[in-house]
Symmetry: C2
Subunit: 470 residues, 2 copies
Amino acid sequence: MTLSRDQIVSALTQILGAESVVGEPGQMTGYISEPRKRFHKEAQAVALPRTVAELQAVMEWAHEVGVHVVPQAGNTGLVGGQVPLFGDEVIVSISRLKGVRSVDAAAGHMTLDAGTTLQEAHEIAEDAGMMFPLYIASQGSARIGGVLGSNAGGVQVLSYGNARELCLGVEAVLADGSIYKGLNALKKDNMGYDIKNLLIGSEGTLGIITAATLKLFPKPDFYETALLNVASPEAALELFTQLRARAGSTLTAFELMPRIGIDLQLKHGMAAQDPSAADSDWYVLAEISVPKGMGGGALEAALEDAMGAGIVTNGVIAGSLAQRETFWTLREQMSEVQSREGASIKHDVSVPVAAVPQLITLGIAAAEAVQPGIRAVAFGHLGDGNIHFNFSQPEGADGKAFMEGAEAVHEAVYAVVLELGGSVSAEHGIGQLKTKLLKQVKDPVALSMMKSIKSALDPKGILNPGKVLG
Amino acid sequence: MTLSRDQIVSALTQILGAESVVGEPGQMTGYISEPRKRFHKEAQAVALPRTVAELQAVMEWAHEVGVHVVPQAGNTGLVGGQVPLFGDEVIVSISRLKGVRSVDAAAGHMTLDAGTTLQEAHEIAEDAGMMFPLYIASQGSARIGGVLGSNAGGVQVLSYGNARELCLGVEAVLADGSIYKGLNALKKDNMGYDIKNLLIGSEGTLGIITAATLKLFPKPDFYETALLNVASPEAALELFTQLRARAGSTLTAFELMPRIGIDLQLKHGMAAQDPSAADSDWYVLAEISVPKGMGGGALEAALEDAMGAGIVTNGVIAGSLAQRETFWTLREQMSEVQSREGASIKHDVSVPVAAVPQLITLGIAAAEAVQPGIRAVAFGHLGDGNIHFNFSQPEGADGKAFMEGAEAVHEAVYAVVLELGGSVSAEHGIGQLKTKLLKQVKDPVALSMMKSIKSALDPKGILNPGKVLG
C-alpha cells in the first residue's frame, strides 16, 4: 500500500497534532537541504515529535503502514544520511526532544535528550563544573542524536575518544516502535551483546537514538598550546611520538597544518597576521591539558629537546588564552578558507598513525598525476591518523571544469588510502554519498554481516532506506 | 544427522591431523574442567588448530554437518562460557594460534594472534618500550581471544578502559567458517556498523576471534601509590571525586578494601604485617601514573587536603616499588583469602559510581537479613562502580549449609543492584551461569535484539549453544 502525501500528513497530524507536522513542500526547505547542497530529494512530510512516546507512536504507524522514515537531528551531516534519497520518505526530526534528564558531576556523567545540541551539552557540562570533550565545527547546530548516530570525532579524539567512547548508554526507538532502554551510567557491564555500539554509528538505519548518557571529565587546570614549525609530515610524526611518550593522555590535541592553508587565510583576510616568525612548509598545533594537581612545563621541556634534535625548527608557545584562540582559529578555518579560494575536492580519510607521512606524499602525487596544478590542503588530526585530505583548484582555473575531474581525484586518493590500510570515511560516515564506495572497499564478510543485522533488526526496511548499505 | 564421537574424531583428524585432535575422554580434563569446577559436561572432542586456515576448515565442517562448537581460549572464565553445556559439543581451542603479527610502538599498537596469553602480550609491549594496560588475576593463562570474547576488565579500567576500549580491530572466524577481516590500526573509521564491538563480549556465540590489534600506551615515568584509611565508602567516594578532579586520567587505580579482608590475610599468613599504622574500617588503594614530562607530588598534595577535610584519617604513600608491591598484593589477595576462610558467595556487580556506598550499605543489610552472621568482604574498583561483592561464611559455620543458602543471598544482592541501576555481570559475562538471570533482568527489547542478531549471524546455532542467550 502506497500512501499519498495527504494520507501521510493526515495520519501524522492525528498522532502528533497539526503544529508538529510539516506537510507543505515549500516549508520543508530547512529539512531537505543539507550543508553541501549535494542531495535534492523531497520528503512527504516532516514529523516533529515532542516526546519519546510521540516518536514511538510515529514509528509504530510507519512500521504498520510501511512508510519509510529518515531520522534527522541537527541536519549537519556531510554525506546525506539525514535527508531523503527516494522522495517517498517522511523525515522524523528529533529536534524537539530537548532536555536534561540528569547530571552527576561527581560520578562523571549526564543524561540528555537526543535533540539537545552539542553546544548546549557543552554548557550543561560547564554549569556542572565539568567538561564534555567533543568539539566539531558544527557544534552549534549538531544534536546529540546525530553526533552519536554518526559517531562524530573532532579535535580531542586523541585523548578522549570519539562519540562512541564518550557514551555510556543510549535509549533508542527501533523500526517497529519498540524502545531499547539502554540508558545506564555503568563503566562495566557485561550482560550480553554490545547493542549500544551497534546503534552508535549506524546512521539511523537500525534505530533512532532518543537519549544518551554521556561521560563528563574534569576540566584541565590550564592548557599548554604551541604552534610549531616542522619541515615535513615525517618530522611531525616524530614530534608526535616524543610528545605522547612524555605527556601520555594529557596530550589532547596534535593537529597538522600546511603552509598553504595559512597563506590562503592571510590572502582572504581570515587571519590578521602571519602567526609564525619563520616560514615553514608545515605546522603543528599541539596542546597539553594539564590536570589540576600537576605542574606545567612539559610542553616547553619537550620542545627544547625537539628543537635540539632538529625536529622542530621554530615555534611559539601561546602566552595567553587569546593567543591560544588565534592558533585554534587558524586550524578551524582551514576548511572554510578553501571555499573562498574556489572549488575544492575533499576526502575524509584515515590511516594508521605511522602511515600519515606516506599518505600525504603518495596522495598528493596521485592527485597531481590526474589533475596537474591541483593544490593540496591536507590538514587535521595527525595524532588519530585522520587527515582532511582536501584539494583546491589550480589558481585561476575554471571551478566547474575542475570539479568534473573530482571522481578521478577521489579514485587516486582512495587507492592510496586503501593501500595503506586506511578508511575512506574516517569521521563523516557513509550516508548516501559513499554507499557505492563502501561496497567496493569493505571486507565482503563484514558487509554481509551488516546486511544480516539490518534485516534482523529492521526486516521491513523502514529506517533510512538506501543509506549506508545502499 | 547426529555424528558419533568416532565419526567426529575421524573427521577432525582428517582436517587437522591426529596430533591436533583430542578424542579420548580421559585426556580432555584440562579442557572440560574450569576454575571454579561448577560445570561438568563432557565434550565429543577437542580440536587444536594451528592456523586460522585450519580453524576455518574446522568451522566449515562443523557448519556443514551441524556439530556444535565451544570456542575456548585460556579456559580461565568464571561463568562456564568456555566449557560444554550439553555434552555433544566439540571444543575448539585457539591455544595454538600464538604469535606476533606486528608491533608498532611509535604508532601505539600491536597485532597478536588470539592464542597469545595476556602475560605474553604484556611482555611483547614491554619489549617495545610500551605498555598494554589490561591486568587481571588470570593473566598468566588467559589468552587474548578469551580476554576479548569476554570483554575483560581489571584494575586499570578507570583510566584505560576495558578490553573493548583497548582493541582497535579483530579478525574472527564466523559460524559458517567465513573470516571477518576487521584487523586495522585505525583510530577513526566510520565505514559501517560496529562489528568489532559486537564480536567483543559475545562470549564466542557470534564468532571466534583469531587475532586482534591492541592499543599500546607510553609507560608512566613513575607511580604515586597510597594506602589510605577512610571511615566509610561515602568518604572513599568523596576522595575519588577529589583525586579525579586533580589528576584526571593520570589517576589509574582507585580500589576500595574492607578491614576484614586485611584481617583475614593476616590470620592466614598471606600478609606479613598490618600495612596500616592505625585501624580503619575501610581502605583505599589509589595510584597516579605520572607521565614522563610531568612532575610528581599530585597525590601528596591531594591527600593533605583530604586529611585536612577529614576525608582521609591516615595513610601511607609507598616509598619504594617494594612497598607499592605490598599494597597491591593486599588488594590482589582479597579474593583468594576468602577460599582459605571457608565457603564464600560471590557477586560480580556494578552500579553507577555515585551509588557504590548505597550498594554496600543496602547490599550487606539485605544479605544479613537472609543469612545472619554472614561476613561481607566487599572490595574492588570503586572508580568504575564495580565491586566484587563477596561474602564469607559465618565464623565456624558449616560451609555446605551456608552454600545451600547462596541463591537467597544472590537474590537479595541482585535486587539491590538492579534497584540502583546496576549490572549483575560487570566483568565476567553470562556464560552458562547467568543465562536465567539475564532473562529476568535484561531489557526485553535488548534481549530480543540479541536473539535476532544471533539468528542472523549463526542461523544454525553452531557457536557456543546455550550460552549467553540460554
